[in-house]
Amino acid sequence: MSRVLVGVKRVIDYAVKIRVKPDHSGVVTDGVKHSMNPFCEIAVEEAVKLKEKKFIKEVVAVSCGPTQVTETIRTALAMGCDRGIHVEVSGKDYEAMGPLQISKIFAALAKKEEASLVILGKQAIDDDCNQTGQMTAALLDWPQGTFASEVTIDGEKVKVVREIDGGLETIKISMPAVLTADLRLNTPRYATLPNIMKAKKKKIANMKPADLGVDEPPTRLAGVKVETVDDLVAKLKANGTI
């Protein structure tokens, strides 16, 4: 029971009004206030809490993206993570990147770092995908405790109380496992200035997706708009989906 990997994502701050770029290729991000995804903050807090309760020895914060994500990793370090990993992806590759590539990266890192737990936020507030945690677990063939509102470690197993549509579900899964944090899991602590100063001395390792054996994200094909449901069914039959 030694190491936990926590994923943090740098997203546009939730209070900022989003503006679409004039060429409609995306949203304006240059100079816009960014911060750590709120669910990732909760994930970091849970990992640090587990370390404080002595269930785990080391918390590693991981983020994928351009150089600016190191600020987000520093915040995670200031909250109590021990070291960081920055998987560098920038420019067009970063814009094309989706949960599948991220989960491949996390799966490779989880194996490399011999992590017992991977804790992620349930979803990011910019894309609301809610896929990375589940895909990572599938790629690793690990059990998953998603939408966690309570996590308790019990020997070699983890008891997770999940928030589902019908209410609360309690499951017991064995480690290693993937957990995704939901809103009521905890209240994240502040990253105070003395901790930010200390975090500057903590290590952030730098690597590329290729170093982990993850290839380029495929170019995304354009979508097609259809007029009626019948057209949709016909198209799906034509390309063999149904």
């Binding site: 701050d13 939730y14 209070a15 900022v16 009004k17 503006r19 004039p22 240059d30 100079g31 816009v32 206030k33 911060s35 709120p38 507030i125 809103l183 009521r184 209240t187 994240p188 602590r189 502040y190 105070t192 200035l193 003395p194 930010i196 100063m197």
Partner: protein, 625 residues
């Protein structure tokens, strides 16, 4: 508050629940009508509790704070700078340039309340590159974002429907030849990058909340804000004390009407030989306009409509040249206005409907909004700027050249002069100082010998010349005659009218102003404007707009002046709402909307509002304003 409903509930639900729980407790404990007994100032009126900040309700007598660890972590630097604006960053850069030249070690720490450098910066702006040329002679190669040289300069006197052109003669202070239209937020961000490269430690997201003093009364440094205090003033689970940063000299560059500077003026009696500072509020928007209307490098200024001749103010509209057809535009209103029914925000919105302005904006889209107070006092209002352990730089003491409407170049220069005065003292091997915190009066001497002083002296009489019966016209005539011909060499110095907060006339003596409804295309309502500023604060914290006495707003501001704060606040923080029980009104403070403009602290006729800094990284999220 409507602003809550615009954002996903997920982040707010847990906090909203906590807030509701807390407010229920407060309501139960202090349900109106009831006398307050443990507030240090008793009010006899039926007043619901508004202020819970520890600067008004001390924590040492508060039973909820018993046993809470109040020790602070402390760190030492050579120089600490409060404020990451043009002045603070120029001072930091100059210090490090000198340190690198002379191969000396120097630890410079800069704290900034915004979440990132430039996020709280707002200005027109037409930058005069004089100070920048002195700081970085190679600023072009370093990529400073000065992309729009001024190509045309237009000045108008507006009436309700028409425009009277005023010739821009060379020599008039408003002439902009050789200057650049900049997005000051981006310029400040670039300065921040240069500073970090030189080795300055920059900490955005941490506000300096308290000045620390040595035993001998000199300034020891600052302490950053505490975090994790609930709205009712009690400690939360995540409570943590701020950190102390000690320094040999502390530079205060908080910008116009800084809250720590306010304390320092009182502590060291820095304003005994100058007039009280007078201010204006500037409201600004950035628009993406129709390409056919775009004329990059064009600078337009106007005076007159919609303000009457006795209300100082004017407008600006600058065409930027940064790829997209952007214009920065806004209105400045002097805060010495007398009519409590005046709303600077609504004046700004209706000004946009003037045909001369509307024709540029038609078919365009508004993409940003913000507001900030600025200095109007100039030479007559300069305080003493040095004291044992520290000094004031930039717009905080106030070096803005009012008729030029430029303060960035003088703010930068003041920062550089401060750095040059401090450097020999902080790196000296044997520091022979009378006080524990260094006193560097050489800074003030250097200021007086520099071009800042000459510039401010020559324009000193222009702003006060507006105070006659002829108002605007008197001012324009005075500028034309005395400034253009004599360049400020006249032997007299005119006085300002006094404290801005004392200028309001009672509501019953004034006529209410009928403002047109916003049309949603050129003019907009307040709340959607505030949403564009990106402002937000942690909801569960004591409101940072503190009232010295909770009963004064209804008893004085509302009763005599019809609640001017609900009109002058550009963010809708202050609202007078009916009491839930019984008759009467109460003041509701929507602290989360605050854009940190400081207008309320300046203009409150009762001087009851004391703006203190909220938890760091709260406030607007301006991008290149």
């Amino acid at each position: 508050m409507l602003i809550h409903t615009m954002f996903p509930a997920s982040r707010y639900s847990i906090q909203a629940q906590r807030c509701i729980r807390v407010l229920k407790t407060v309501k139960a404990d202090h349900a109106p009508p009831q006398l307050y007994t443990w507030r240090w100032k008793c009010s006899s009126a039926v007043t619901p509790r508004i202020t819970s900040h520890y600067t008004i309700c001390p924590r040492d007598k508060d039973p909820r704070w018993e046993g809470v660890e109040m020790e602070r972590f402390a760190d030492e630097a050579d120089v600490v700078i409060v404020g990451g604006g043009p002045a603070g960053l120029s001072a930091a850069i100059r210090l490090k340039q000198l340190a690198n030249e002379q191969e000396k070690e120097l630890r410079v720490c800069l704290v900034e309340k915004a979440s990132q450098i430039g996020a709280h910066t707002l200005s027109g702006a037409c930058l005069e590159p004089s100070a920048l040329n002195e700081l970085f002679s190679d600023w072009k190669e370093r990529g400073a974002p000065l992309n729009t040289p001024v190509t045309e300069d237009v000045f108008s006197l507006l009436t309700k429907k028409y425009r009277i052109p005023v010739p821009m003669l060379p020599g008039l202070p408003m002439n902009n030849h050789g200057n650049y239209i900049v997005r000051l937020g981006h310029f400040v961000r670039w300065l921040g990058e240069q500073a970090e490269e030189l080795g300055v430690e920059i900490y955005p997201g941490y506000a300096a909340a308290e000045v620390l003093f040595h035993e001998d009364g000199s300034v020891k440094g600052i302490a950053t804000n505490d975090v994790g205090i609930a709205k009712d003033g009690s400690p939360k689970d995540v409570f943590e004390r701020g950190m102390e940063l000690h320094a040999k000299v502390t530079l205060f560059g908080e910008g116009c009407h800084g809250h720590l500077a306010k304390q320092l003026y009182r502590q060291f009696n820095l304003r005994e030989n100058c007039e009280p500072q007078t201010y204006a509020i500037g409201l600004k928007e950035v628009w993406l306009i129709d390409e056919k209307k775009w004329r990059p490098g064009r600078v337009e200024h106007s005076v007159g409509w919609p303000l009457n001749r006795n209300t100082y103010g004017g407008s600006f509209l600058y065409h930027l040249n940064e790829g997209e057809p952007l214009v920065a535009l806004g209105v400045v209103v002097g805060l010495d206005y007398t009519n409590p029914y005046l709303s600077p925000f609504r004046e700004f919105q209706r000004w946009k409907h003037h045909p001369f302005i509307a024709k540029t904006l038609e078919g365009g889209n508004r993409i940003a909004y913000g507001a900030r107070a600025l200095n109007e006092g100039g030479y007559q209002c300069l305080p003493k700027v040095t004291f044992p352990g520290g000094m004031l730089i930039g717009c905080s003491p106030g070096f803005m050249n009012v008729p030029k409407i430029k303060g960035t170049h003088t703010a930068m220069k003041s920062g550089m002069l401060a750095a040059e005065a401090i450097f020999p003292k902080v790196t000296a091997k044997d520091l022979a100082s009378e006080t524990a915190g260094l006193h560097v009066p050489e800074y003030e001497d250097n200021l007086k010998k520099s071009w800042i002083w000459k510039e401010l002296y020559s324009v000193r009489n222009i702003r006060p010349s507006f105070h006659s019966y002829f108002g605007l016209y008197g001012g324009m005539v005075y500028t034309g005659v005395f400034y253009w011909i004599l360049r400020g060499k006249e032997p007299w110095t005119l006085k300002h009218a006094g404290l801005d907060s004392a200028q309001l006339r009672p509501a019953k003596e004034c006529t209410a102003i009928e403002y047109p409804k916003p049309d949603g295309k050129l003019s907009f309502d307040l709340l959607s404007s505030v949403a564009l500023s990106g402002t937000n604060h942690e909801g569960d914290q004591p409101p940072h707009l503190t009232l010295k006495d909770d009963s004064v707003p209804v008893a004085n501001n509302l009763a005599i002046y019809d609640g001017p704060e609900q009109r002058f606040c550009p963010a809708g923080v202050y609202e007078y709402v009916p009491l839930e029980t019984g008759e009467g009104m109460r003041l509701q403070i929507n602290a989360q909307n605050c854009v940190h403009c400081k207008t309320c602290d300046i203009k409150d006729p009762s001087q009851n509002i004391n703006w203190v800094v909220p938890e760091g990284s709260g406030g607007p999220a301006y991008n290149g304003m």
